[in-house]
């Protein structure tokens, strides 16, 4: 008996187009949602919750984000500053940076992200330190509570 072993061998090729389409859409989705400004947010800060806080309307012309820990450490651009008292040179530098962009010190938005357990006196001290260098535009940032 003779076996016929001669089969036409073809390479199986699935249509990859829908998969590639979906993959690109997923990449576009994640690229749009990725937040590169995470360095400004200190993960260890637990913000107080409020349902009346106003969601930020765009980014201010110039902003300084100060994260305040319960112990009095200030986290600024990923750098931990152990005391509020030594903040002045950093704030002065920010004012100089802003002035290079023709932004007046009164227009600088100081965003205070304080831990909910921080003594309020420390928050006031930080605000006073910023006022010493003539900053006056403050934002108390809180976590938004969704209304039921």
């Amino acid at each position: 008996m003779k076996l016929n072993k001669t089969k036409s061998s073809k390479v199986l090729e699935g249509d990859l187009t829908p998969m590639i389409d979906m993959t690109f859409q997923l990449i576009a989705f994640f690229m749009l949602l990725i937040n590169f400004s995470e360095v400004d947010r200190a993960e260890e800060i637990t913000l107080p919750v409020s349902e009346l806080a106003i969601p930020p309307e765009g980014r201010p012309d110039y902003q300084v984000i100060l994260n305040l820990e319960p112990g009095g450490n200030v986290i600024f651009e990923g750098q931990r500053i152990p005391q509020i008292d030594i903040m002045t040179p950093i704030l002065d530098q920010e004012i100089r940076n802003a002035s290079r962009e023709d932004i007046d010190v009164s227009q600088i938005a100081v965003i205070i992200r304080s831990h909910e357990d921080t003594p309020t006196g420390l928050v006031q001290k930080l605000i006073a330190k910023c006022q010493d260098v003539e900053m006056e535009n403050f934002v108390l940032r809180v976590k938004e509570k969704i209304n039921q």
């Binding site: 990859l16 590639i20 993959t23 690109f24 997923l26 990449i27 994640f30 690229m31 949602l33 990725i34 937040n35 995470e38 947010r41 913000l47 107080p48 409020s50 349902e51 009346l52 806080a53 106003i54 969601p55 930020p56 009164s106 965003i111 304080s114 831990h115 909910e116 357990d117 921080t118 003594p119 309020t120 006196g121 928050v123 006031q124 605000i127 006073a128 006022q131 003539e134 006056e136 535009n137 403050f138 934002v139 108390l140 940032r141 809180v142 976590k143 938004e144 969704i146 209304n147």
Partner: protein, 167 residues
């Protein structure tokens, strides 16, 4: 003369390398993706008291002093309000923030300006050790209330005592 018609061979691109890269990108974005809670702001303006005098207003806004008193471990103990006419103390009980909101609402309604609260200002006098979370709740209590899913704004002008600046 006879023309030979050759059938063009279909061009096949090798997609393997591109798909490899695309999947690596996808994995990178999935791994670094973080769901971040939405944040909100209380916008405040606190110029230095020594700044240029801009107060030309004939009538300064009516001032309500709100004293936040801290108990042990920075927990709110009581809230005292003083508007030069009466002094009330709320707490210590869990409803003291609601009592504060009700007081502010009554006060504004009595002044015939229940919606805007433009002509009334709150000055906070806060104990140093009071935890910031309780302060924010007090700021929230005087700035408005939520009823029936709608936000009713109360007082927007606030300041801290001893800072002589507007919040």
């Amino acid at each position: 003369m006879k023309l030979e018609t050759e059938e063009p061979e279909p061009i096949q691109l090798n997609m393997t390398a591109m798909i490899d890269i695309v999947f690596q990108l996808l994995i990178f974005f999935i791994m670094t993706f973080k769901v971040v809670a939405q944040e909100g702001d209380f916008n405040i303006k606190m110029p230095m008291a020594s700044g240029p005098a801009t107060e030309i207003d004939a009538e300064p806004p009516e001032l309500i002093r709100v004293l936040l008193r801290s108990g042990p471990e920075g927990i709110i103990n009581s809230i005292q309000v003083d508007d030069d006419i009466e002094t009330l103390t709320f707490g210590p009980d869990p409803e003291l923030y609601q009592d504060l909101t009700d007081y502010i609402e009554r006060k504004l309604a009595g002044e015939g300006d229940p919606e805007s609260g433009h002509d009334t200002e709150v000055e906070f006098d806060i104990d140093y050790g009071l935890r910031y979370g309780y302060t924010v709740r007090a700021i929230e209590a005087v700035s408005g209330k939520v009823s029936g899913g709608k936000v009713k704004k109360l007082i927007q002008k606030m300041k801290f005592k001893n800072k002589t600046s507007e919040l």
